[in-house]
């Protein structure tokens, strides 16, 4: 069993990767409970959900999981009966945590590796919006060493430093045809890094309710010199000099959370989380090319995202010593204003439901599985910038599995 566990942990970082921009898949137990975890203590995933709660963990943890994700969008161009589907690509957000502290000590150390943001959308090169976007693969992998300290039996705090390794791979068609009628293509590909922090506080109240409050900071991720590859008809290549590089910064937004845990009887945990995501920091998406020409100018496109919130609720029922059943759900408001919806992340208000199951397969070893269905409301839009006009609708299906070893 231990061998299998190690295998999962080693391959996880290689599998890497992500979904439609903010990825809320940070722990299988928590996914099962509707992504709640700020105000309760479950396992090593507290490193992400609330570093302040880590010191309250009764044991040490090493755990890893993945959530293969199917992001299925459809676009119906205005005035047509065409249905453009994204291709079936499975993104694999993952999460791995380790938490350690001396037995019954007042402190614990932890480290988390997780994928809080990303996007994998591939619309292909024949659809209506190909000059806006063909495909996008955006990844952000956060690595977060953490220290948590119990200040009293009823209160602990914690914080961690975040290092983000981000990458982008974007393609779009260029409306310049060669003599065969093949159009050009732009590909922007590069990686960069960013820094931030994650801190939280956790209370056990006399009423038996637990409360967590956290702030995960904004992480400005800069790609300093990505490859800017332009394929255009030969007679125009001098206007799109090669090789060329681009610089771009994406502000991955801060998230403020408050969460509550309720314990009606020894078998039940009920949890409630409220998140406020400061997406309003994402004003523009800019690409600054190293070599400009009259044709190839730097681009700045307005995004003007707004603050978004989500409400999450979930429950766990401990059927017996070995088996835990979980369910939950939630609602998340869109960060994208009307007129700014793009095929990169065809965002809309969304609802989701989750189911989960935890089983102790051997001493110290938990296996947790979860399943999530997420539905983005149908949204009819004409983008201000591209004038791409039509209706987006998205369904997301996310099964997930993790192993946790604790002692």
């Amino acid at each position: 069993m231990r061998k299998i566990l190690l295998l999962v942990l080693t391959i996880a970082p290689l599998l890497a990767y992500s979904q439609g921009f903010q990825v809320n898949l940070e722990g299988q137990k928590q996914i099962g409970m509707g992504h709640t975890g700020t105000g309760i203590v479950q396992d090593g995933a507290s490193v992400f959900f609330n570093p302040g709660a880590v010191a309250m963990l009764p044991e040490n943890y090493i755990q890893g999981g993945i959530s293969p994700l199917l992001f299925k969008s459809v676009f119906n161009p205005a005035g047509t009966s065409i249905q453009n589907h994204t291709s079936n690509k499975v993104a694999t957000p993952f999460q791995a945590y380790a938490v350690w502290g001396p037995k019954s000590s007042f402190w614990k150390l932890g480290i988390g590796v997780y994928t809080p943001f990303g996007g994998l959308t591939d619309w292909g090169n024949t659809w209506q919006g190909k000059y806006v976007l063909e495909s996008l693969n955006l990844k952000a992998i956060y690595i977060q060493p953490t220290l948590s300290v119990k200040l009293a039996d009823w209160m602990s705090i914690g914080g961690g430093f975040v290092y983000n390794r981000g990458s982008v791979d974007l393609t779009r068609a260029i409306p310049l045809a060669n003599s065969n009628g093949d159009v050009g293509q732009a590909r922007l590909k590069g990686s960069g890094k960013g820094y931030g922090w994650n801190a939280g506080v956790y209370f056990k109240t006399e009423a038996g309710i637990t409360i967590g409050i956290t702030h995960r900071s904004q992480v400005n991720t800069t790609i300093p010199a990505g490859d800017a590859i332009f394929t255009v008809p030969a007679s125009l290549q001098s206007s799109f000099p090669q090789p060329n590089t681009f610089r771009s910064t994406i502000p991955l937004p801060a998230t403020n959370s408050i969460g509550f845990g309720f314990y009606p009887g020894s078998k039940w945990i009920l949890a409630l989380d409220v998140n406020l995501v400061n997406w309003d920091s994402y004003k523009t998406l800019s690409f600054d090319y190293k070599t400009n020409t009259a044709v190839l100018q730097d681009t700045k496109s307005a995004r003007n995202y707004q603050q978004a919130y989500s409400l999450r609720g979930g429950a766990q029922y401990k059927a017996n010593d070995k088996l835990a059943l979980r369910f939950g759900g939630g609602y998340a408001s869109t960060a994208v204003l009307d007129g700014y919806v793009t095929p990169e992340a065809p965002d809309a208000n969304r609802v989701y439901g989750t189911l989960g199951l935890g089983y102790t397969v051997a001493k110290h070893l938990d296996i947790d599985i979860s399943f999530e269905y997420e539905h983005l409301m149908q949204r009819t839009q004409t983008n201000f910038e591209s004038q791409l006009s039509g209706t987006f609708k998205t369904d997301v299906y996310i099964p997930g599995i993790s192993l946790a070893y604790h002692w």
Binding site: I4, P68, L70, K72, S73, V74, N76, P77, A78, G79, T80, S81, I82, Q83, H85, N88, V90, T126, W127, Q128, G129, K130, Y131, V132, R172, A173, P175, L176, A177, N178, S179, G181, V183, V232, P233, A234, S235, L236, V361, I367, I369, F371, Q378, E385, S386, Q387, L388, T391, K393, T394, D395, Y397, P399, I401
Partner: protein, 439 residues
């Protein structure tokens, strides 16, 4: 073992999920109040799919009527046949192809002269030479004839004077006597589009006001009434388009007075003005200095400027003195522009009032193209404008459209039809159509 089973379930589940796709419910395309079973298109070169200075197979295949006809098939439209050139003679009349750029960025175009469909040249006394093309004998829905004016639709000998019309007729020039209107009416139809009238103004304008005349306004109105009355005699519905502002095309806005003058001044800073032979009034022309309101045509050979021209006062540089003005045929001067616009406005008043009286849909091409000239247009992330080559809308001749331009026009026709008749012909995906092809 239990975990292994679990894995199998998860993997099987993933495959199942892979199969389900979100769908957006769209209303079933509807014909509204119209029978689209046989749609025919009347018009000139724009309707035929003329582009890059010629009519050729690839252009015909993206003509706006063929796009509309295809889209109509989901609302009860029948087969849409066009008088296509054969693949062996795919280059039809021949056309211009972009083969490169000069160091100063100006384009180099080269005529395509292979695989033509030219079957001969017929000299017509008192008219000139008429190029004849390989006959087309199949079914026709697209009656677009390059060069035709509204003025010609009831003119019996026209089938001997226009090779593009002649190739559609059974008889050989010079024996034809079927009028365009009679030819179109020879087979029943249920719906029509009509975009005739452009050449009644354009032929005058593109010849710099020198080689042709504007069709008289009342003649235009009388013929337009005859045309629409005939087309709607059995209660057929249709869509008509207005005549675009001829000055909204790159043919008149690419080689500008300012650009030519700047080129001359680089070598001779002393030169202060270009001279043109400009309209004074009626048919009186006199030389004067050119202004930015005078429009030089795209095909003006700028190398003529400054060449010595023999005059009574000795050799003088072409275009740079009042004694050696740029020839009338190369310039649509300010007064000629105003005259053309006055006629076009009158034609469009006629078109709109006749359409209104018959309850026809109208695509206001005048307003649409003028708006693009002033503001450009963004479609599906593609920016188009009225600039030569880079604008993506106009083909290499600066008058006719690119496939992208024709697709945009097709959607505008479709929108006008849907608005008027409560139908829902689906629009075409403009992203599938290209602008000018680059080497």
């Amino acid at each position: 073992m239990k975990t292994l089973k679990l894995h199998i379930y998860i993997i099987a589940g993933l495959f199942l999920l892979g199969a389900c796709k979100p769908e957006i419910h769209t209303p079933k395309p509807s014909a509204g109040s119209v029978d689209f079973s046989r749609y025919i298109a009347l018009g000139n070169s724009l309707t035929a799919g003329y582009a890059d200075g010629g009519l050729y197979l690839a252009g015909q295949q993206v003509s706006y009527p063929s796009i509309i006809g295809k889209q109509m098939q989901s609302v009860g439209g029948g087969t849409f046949s066009q008088p296509l050139f054969s693949t062996a003679q795919a280059n039809g009349s021949g056309y211009l192809s972009l083969t490169g750029f000069n160091a100063d960025g100006t384009p180099i175009t080269t005529p395509v002269t292979t695989n033509l469909a030219i079957r001969g040249v017929l000299p017509v006394p008192g008219f000139g030479n008429v190029t004849l093309y390989t006959k087309y004998t199949g079914d026709i829905n697209n009656y677009g004839v390059p060069g035709i004016k509204l003025m010609h639709i009831t003119y019996a000998p026209y089938g001997n004077l226009n090779g593009y019309f002649e190739r559609l007729l059974p008889g050989n020039a010079p024996t034809n006597s079927t009028t365009y209107l009679d030819f179109v009416m020879s087979k029943p139809f249920t719906f029509f589009s009509n975009w005739l009238g452009n050449n009644d103004a354009l032929a005058y304008a593109t010849s710099g006001g020198a080689g042709d005349v504007l069709t008289d306004k009342s003649t235009f109105a009388a013929l337009y009434n005859v045309l629409i009355n005939t087309l709607t005699a059995k209660g057929q519905k249709g869509v008509v388009a207005t005549v675009p502002d001829v000055t909204s095309i790159p043919y008149f806005n690419t080689v500008t007075v300012a650009a030519i003058l700047a080129g001359v001044q680089k070598a001779n800073p002393g030169v202060k003005a270009l001279y043109i032979n400009a309209l004074v009034s009626g048919s009186t022309y006199a030389p004067r200095a050119a202004t930015t309101n005078d429009l030089v045509i795209l095909t003006f050979p700028t190398s003529k400027i400054g060449q010595p021209v023999a005059t009574p006062v000795g050799n003088l540089p072409y275009g740079l003195t009042p004694y050696t003005p740029i020839d009338n045929q190369y310039v649509l001067d300010e007064k000629e522009v105003a005259l053309t616009e006055d006629y076009v406005t009158s034609y469009n008043t006629t078109i709109k009032s006749v359409a209104a009286s018959k309850g026809l849909a109208v695509f206001d091409a005048y307003t649409f193209l003028q708006n693009i000239k002033q503001n450009g247009l963004v479609v599906n992330g593609v920016s188009v404008n009225s600039n030569y080559i880079s604008g993506g809308l106009f083909s290499l001749d600066g008058v006719h459209l690119t496939p992208r331009g024709y697709a945009i026009v097709a959607n505008e026709f479709i929108k006008a039809i849907n608005d008027k008749y409560n139908s829902s012909i689906p629009q075409v995906n403009i992203s599938d159509y290209n602008g000018v092809k680059f080497p």
